[in-house]
Structure formats: C-alpha cells, structure tokens
Assembly symmetry: D2
C-alpha cells in the first residue's frame, strides 16, 4: 500500500491532462507555432509535472517517511526523499 | 517559416517519446510503484521536456533573433527570448 | 533548539564560502570577464546555495517534521516543507 | 569590451546586495532561525543570482552573439549561450 492510495485518481487525472498537453506541443510544432509560444507551453507542462511530483512527495513524507521514523528507520528514508528533491531541482 | 523547420522531425520524435513517458507515469501510479521511483521518472521527463525547449531556443536565437538584429530590431527579440528562459527557470 | 544544531558549523562554512564566491563574481564583473564564464560561476554559486538548502531540509524533516508527526501534527509541517521545496524549484 | 560595459554598476549593485543577503543567511543560522524561514531566504537569494545571470545573458546575446552572427560565426556563440542556459536550469 502506497502513500498515494487515496489520491491515485487525482494523480492520474493530472497526468492524463499532461499527456494531452504533450500532444498539444506536437500539434504546435506541426503547425509552425512561434518558438516562444512553444517555450511558454513547455514551461507550463513542466510546472504541471512538478506539481504531480510535489504532491507525491507530500504524501510520501506524510506516510512512508513518518512511519519509517516511528520504527526508528527514518533517517535513510529522509535522505532518500531529499535526494529525490535534489534530482527535481537539477532537471 | 520557423527557425525549427529543418529539425521538426527531431522535435516531434522527442515529444512522442515524452508522451510515452507520461503514459508510463500513469502505469506506474496504477501499479502502485514506489513514490521515489515515480519522482525519479518525473525528473527524467522534465529533463527531456527542457531539452526540447533548449533545442527550440537555440534555433530561435540562430534564426529569428539574428535576423531581427540584422534588421535593427534585435533588442525586443532578445528580451522576449530571455523572458522565455526566465519562465523555464521558474517552473 | 533547531534541527540544524549539530551541523551549524558546516552550514556556516558553506555560507562563508558562498559569500567569497559572490565577492569573486564582483571581481569578475570588475575585470571584464567573458559573460559565459560569469554565467558558469553563477550556476556554481546557485548550486552551492541549493546544497545548503537541501541539507537544511534533510535535518528539518528528520527532526521537526518527524517530531510533529509523533505528536499527531505532522501534516501541517509536511505541507509547509513541501511548499518550501516548491519555492526552491520555482527560483 | 564586454556586452555588460554599460550596466556594470547595476550588476555590481545587485551582487553586493546578494553578498549582504548571504551574510544575512549566516546570521539566521547563528541565531537559530526556523529552517523553513532560512529556506525561503535561500530561494530569494537564488532568484536574485539568477536575475543577474538573466541580465548578463540578455546583454551577451544582444552584443557578442549578434556581432558574431554578423561576422558569419553566430552558430558557435549561440550553442555556447544555450549551454550556459542549460547549466542554469540544471543547478
């Protein structure tokens, strides 16, 4: 059972919308849309993806990390989560 | 005619791959994949999206901005491109 | 008492080094250093600053958030920490 | 002569303010400031640094890149500038 069990539908909805936005980007390229407008849309899709990531992170810390900490094994879980944040920052 | 005329196929290929990765993210959520692994994949999709953005930016500066500059109208185009970079940084 | 009590010296050392790097950036501007080299150095200082942020986040979650969770008040602390990550992502 | 010749003072002013903010971060650590408040301030300093980077990028493209393009050597300069943006994105 994952931290995101209650919110699966919300994540899936957001990801399906992002999939539609990525198809929209393909149409923009097909239709010779002005570069800057494509870049603006890419920034918007990136933001939407990171919002899913932040929601997952929130749930992960509230469930997995807190449970691990109660069992005396929190430190490794926290380092793992912070490493994931570092990867998000570095993209 | 856009700056990305010669490279349209490369952009479309990358965007179709990104679309597949976003569907992969939906499967990961459906199959209860460990949060941290989903986050790692989100960072990877974000990176792929930003690579498309950087390629578009490169072409845009080499074509639209340089042509505008030759016509004495470069400054506005440069500000516009740098604003687009600022939006990419802020996502 | 803060989560970073044991590691204060490490944070201060990193921040003093960053302060030196920012002075180095001023010298680079004074001495007409090539723009791209200044940008590379700005990226390096930004990375160093974010490393301090990630270290603080790690300690904060291991101490404040985990303690709050044990007292049944974890959710608000987690939301607050994830909001801080969102601000780091958006800069 | 660099692209930032006219704006040197503005860059230096911003960098001196950033230097002061980094010293402020050291005081915050010294005085046991709440982690989240330190993180918020780190995000603010990062943003200020990136603003200097964006200003330098703007000038660099308007001067060095456009001149190189007029001399038929624009492509290498554009790639170099976009690589610098990639490094800013990845920090």
């Amino acid at each position: 059972m994952r931290g995101y069990d209650d919110t699966r539908d919300d994540h899936l909805l957001r990801l399906r919308r992002i999939e539609g936005q990525v198809r929209g980007l393909q149409r923009m390229i097909d239709e010779d849309t002005y570069c800057i407008d494509v870049l603006t849309q890419i920034a918007s899709v990136t933001k939407a993806l990171q919002k899913v990531g932040l929601n997952l992170l929130d749930e992960h810390v509230r469930h997995c990390v807190v449970e691990a900490a109660a069992a005396g094994e929190g430190d490794a879980k926290v380092h793992e989560a912070v490493d994931a944040v570092a990867r998000m920052l570095r993209t």
